[in-house]
Amino acid sequence: MWLVIIQLKIGIILTFFSLLFAVASLAERKILARIQNRRGPNRVGPCGLFQPIADGIKMLIKEDVVPRKADRALHFLAPIVMVAPMVLLFGILPYGGGLTLVDLEVGLLFFFAVSSVSELAVFMAGWSSANKYSVFGAMRAIAQMVSYEVPLVLVAITPVMVAGSLSLVHMVEDQAGYAIGVIPNWFVLTPWGIVGFLLLFVTSLAEANRTPFDLPEGESELVAGHLTEYSGFKYALFFMGEYFGIFAGSGLAVALFLGGGGAPLPLLQWIPPYLWFFVKLVVLVGIVIWVRASLPRMRIDQLMDLCWKGLVPLAFVNLIAAAIWHYSGGGWQGWILAGGLLVGAYLMLNRVVLRSRCSWERKYYLAKS
């Protein structure tokens, strides 16, 4: 019986995320198209709704090209190593309402341990392709992922410190309830929470290689980075792995800062928590797509500057701010102290990072003759 329930839960979760992958790949193209003032896919099925199916069939029957000089074994293994850990991550997300699969005591640790394996997959893909662009992309990807893991972990530690546990379920429970009867107790509604949430969002964009941090596969410089030599189903697997990474990252943000499955208003508590969880997750995924349509790509040195000179110090300050908030009792003193600290740190870091940049103001002359 226990096994059946577990199987059922796994089935539901996997189905949901696979469906979400299909929908998101369509939605991404549709949203991108709408933002770009065009129509997007609209040929297959009503309004192009069956496009993912057509894409899937295409990917499956496409020829699998492996370059002659490629390392076949690693070239084959890389997409699997990419997808497998991402699927594992779905296991510990606290959907709430009985859908939570496992409540690991060290859930957060599990999350980072497993997701860090995908770096090896990127390396395997890049190196085995025997293509300079691929190696280059892999190098960028690893440098970027290793660097951004530092602020990511630092930010994720903040709610751990406040909730006093590494378990994601415990963290969601800590955010339950409402202040003054209406405002949810989500961490994002505290000064350190909002900073932490934004930091987490930015760093998980970088971890998932999404715009504006999509340097490893920046198509204008590196053709497609580590994916250059991938086609057909292997490419689809990579694609899926990346989407799953976005879902898992968004899920983590929901669990850590957006109150997991908690309803935003007490009135809406009759809706099951997992639905809330998924709604929040989908909203975050939508924002990720929106960002992709509107921001240019950063350069590698700027990316590293942002990480080591901006995000890491800010994450440390955020840690201190959370401690101050925690010990000041979380009232208006907390807002002033923690908020003031964070704003001051932000302004100072902004100046330090800005210092190395060129001036913003430019003068242009209009010559009459």
């Binding site: 060290v106 190196w127 190696v135 892999a138 992922m145 290793v146």
Partner: protein, 175 residues
């Protein structure tokens, strides 16, 4: 339970052997990562959840990735070596590892901890690990922190081989 342990042990052994013997540098690094992962599994199988995941996070996620990165940076051409799968000095490698293994085995055997049955470790949770770290192991923890900071600063100093001012000057003179 024993079957799982044996599978993990086999994984560790094969991974470790491959790490030493295989000639292709990248394969070595990846087998090392596999060994680390299997080691992590061993901890998990023994009930040490925290240490198991930390092992995977630190060794697979950081150390192995760093090794791989260094390989990418330093030897882009030598990575793809042609020739036999196993290196010519495999006998030496086997000899060295046998020597090391023998020494450790002798030390363990002599320490006497293998005698008698193994007592299952006490149930550890995060709470107690945290409390221990911040109470009885506070000094070692702080010392480790200082050590890591020093290492970080050292690494930064090494990386800043060329002074930044100089490169800016040379860029200006180029114009």
């Amino acid at each position: 339970m024993n079957v799982v342990l044996f599978i993990i042990a086999a994984l560790i052994l094969v991974g470790a052997l491959a790490t030493v013997c295989v000639r292709n540098l990248v394969y070595c690094a990846l087998s090392l990562a596999a060994t680390f992962a299997a080691l992590g599994m061993l901890y998990l199988a023994l009930g040490a959840e925290f240490i198991g995941w930390v092992q995977i996070l630190v060794y697979v996620g950081a150390v192995a990735v760093l090794i791989v990165f260094v390989i990418l940076l330093t030897a882009p051409d030598r990575m793809r070596s042609v020739g036999p799968l196993f290196s010519r000095s495999r006998i030496l490698g086997v000899g060295v590892s046998l020597g090391v293994f023998g020494t450790i085995a002798y030390a363990v055997h002599k320490s006497g901890s293998l005698k008698g049955s193994l007592s299952m470790p006490a149930e550890t949770d995060m709470q107690s690990i945290g409390e221990e770290l911040l109470s009885s192991y506070l000094v070692p923890l702080e010392a480790t922190g200082v050590l890591l900071t020093v290492a970080l600063i050292g690494a930064v100093l090494f990386a800043r081989e060329e002074p930044v001012e100089g490169s800016e000057e040379s860029q200006e003179s180029k114009d």
